[in-house]
Every structure is written in C-alpha cells, then in structure tokens.
Symmetry: C2
Subunit: 191 residues, 2 copies
C-alpha cells in the first residue's frame, strides 16, 4: 500500500492528524521515565494511570537519502509537576539533516539545542512552520489545553539518536510559572 518506489497517497486528518490506514506509535508516561525534572511526580502519575503522552507515525520508508519520512505528531496536554508534556526529543543520527514541522492544531514550543549548547525555542500555533536546522536536537512541548498536532518531514535516512538526550537531557525545560510557559535551566542536565 505504502509504495515508496511507485508513490501513494495517505489520509492524515487535518483536524486530528490520524489516518484510517496506518496506526501511530504511542509513547506512554512510563516511556519518559527519567526525562522530567520531578521523577517522583511522574511515578505517582504512572501509578494512577499510564496515559499516552504523545503519538506519531513511523511509516516503513526505505532509509535512502532520496526518500522522505513524514507523518503526524500529536502531543497531549498536561504536565508533570508543572513541566509540560513533551516528546523525548532527539538528534538525527546523520547530524547534518534538517526537519520541517507544520503546526496544524494546538499551542506549543519546538525546543531546539545544538551539541554546543545553542538553545532556540520556537513558538507553535496553527499555521506556523518551524524549520529545525541541521545539527539541532528537537523536542515538541505542548503548552496549551488541546492536543499539539504537527506534520513533519525529514530525510528518510536521517535516523534518530535518542540516547544522547536520554543520558544528558536538554539544557533547558519548559515549565508553567504563574500560568505562563517559562524556559528554565534543567537541574538534571549533565555536561
């Protein structure tokens, strides 16, 4: 059905991001253990109900430099002790490859960080395209009250390096302070 050599169409609902033909990969609160500042708060939430925190498409695109991977990313609203729900975030394995995100619904931030520590926080709202530059780790953060839904495209062979972020984290976090999304230092970040 998804014939990357001959072309195809795929339904991605403009409102929900979901497809009737292909399912999403779901990430649960428990998949993000260690990634929020307050481990105890996250653990308590998992015990209560291990909710889906975000979901996205992983289509079987060949890892060829001429192909493109694409899909929807949907981050649900919520927070862990004031730290907004977010994706794990990743570098590309081929570090020098960019990614385009087009925000369809919701409110949030694309947090970007280079290995050298340059941090950029790009605000997302419907109709905003974010260009994630080559060499920057990136993470979607939902700072609103509805699902944050983006459409993404990247080079199919770019690859995902989650390990670096899992080990070291991002240098900065997004937390709610007096009702306002605020960028603060990550107390756990390790050089």
């Amino acid at each position: 059905m998804l014939n990357f050599e001959k072309g195809f169409t795929l339904d991605l609902d403009l409102k929900t991001g979901l497809s009737k033909k292909v399912d999403t990969k779901k990430r649960y609160l428990s998949d993000l253990r260690g990634m929020f500042a307050d481990d105890a708060a996250l653990e308590a939430m998992i015990k209560e109900n291990d909710d889906v925190i975000y979901e996205y498409h992983t289509l079987p695109v060949p890892e060829h430099e001429g192909d493109l991977a694409f899909g929807s990313s949907i981050v649900y609203p919520g927070n862990v002790a004031g730290e907004y729900f977010m994706t794990k975030g990743h570098f590309h394995t081929i570090l020098g490859t960019a990614e385009v995100y087009y925000c369809m619904n919701g409110q949030g931030v694309m947090l970007c960080e280079s290995p050298e520590g340059d941090v950029k926080a790009f605000e997302l709202s419907p109709g905003t395209v974010v260009y994630v530059p080559k060499r920057y780790a990136h993470r979607s953060i939902n700072t609103g009250n509805t699902p944050l839904h983006t459409f993404y495209v990247y080079r199919a062979d770019a690859g995902h390096d989650y390990g670096t972020i899992e080990e070291k984290g991002f240098r900065k976090l997004y937390v709610e302070k007096d009702g306002t999304p605020t960028l603060v230092e990550n107390p756990k970040w390790a050089e």
Copy 2:
C-alpha cells in the same frame, strides 16, 4: 529572518497557504504557452486577461543535501478548452529525490510520470498526503472549483528540471469530459 542555519518559523495560513512575511512566485497563463493542448484557446485567454494560474514559495534555502525546501503551492481553478489549470511540472535535477505534498484545500490530481513512461495519477483532497517517488516528474492539476492548495517539502539540493517537460510534455493530460476529470493521451507528446 529565514535563517536555515539557526532555525526559524514561518507563517503559512492553513486556509490560503499564503504568508505575511514572504511573497510567492506567480506563474501567469502566458508562462504556460505551449504546455496546454490547445494553443489557440490559451492565446485567446491571455489576450483577454493574463491571469495568475498558480503561485508558490521559493525560499532562499541553501542547496545543501541536509536542508529541506518547503512552501505552499496554490493552483487556481479554471481550464483551457477543457484542460484543467495545472503547474508546469518538473523532474528533480537529482532525479533520485522524492517530494511530499500535503493537500490542505481544494480538489485535484498529482500527475506523476517516470522517464520510462510509468504514469500515476493521485487524487488530492483536503487531508491527503501524496508521496511523489524518486525519479517521477510531477504536476499539480486543479480539477475543482476552488484553489488547490498543497504544502510541499523536498530535499533542498534536488533542483528543478523544467526543460524536459517543456520540450516533451507529459504523456497524459487531464481534461473535463461530461463533467468528469478524465485522463487522456497528450496529442502533442513527443518521444
């Protein structure tokens, strides 16, 4: 403003495809001389009013294999002696590079054709993604009554080869027959 090395955001209106920050490149009826089957009918239309037939963004992205070009494409409704308004269409100069189109508004067809003559016609409606495979020329055709608006992404160094299509055309055309979009042979097509 559009800093491809450090990242940026760009507004692309989800309804119109247009941005308040960057303008589009406009193609007029006269730019498509020779590309419709009925040259006389096109000439008469140009004489009446040389309308914009389609427009799209051409952002100053570096032609680097790690970067991505993106933007909106808007094809207006209409026809030339029954042949629907369409883009010129092109191969990529680096033939082995794909392109993703996400239909936001309107009704149409993405006509794809390989150098060997494999023809694929993918129907477009809001919420449909078309995967244009490596090696296929492609052209957007508006078969509806409202603007056909897609969001596209391709590798920034892919390049555009318009010459092959300008010289030879596509093997097939989309024309209105008894009110229905119909794929027919292109009488002008030359091997």
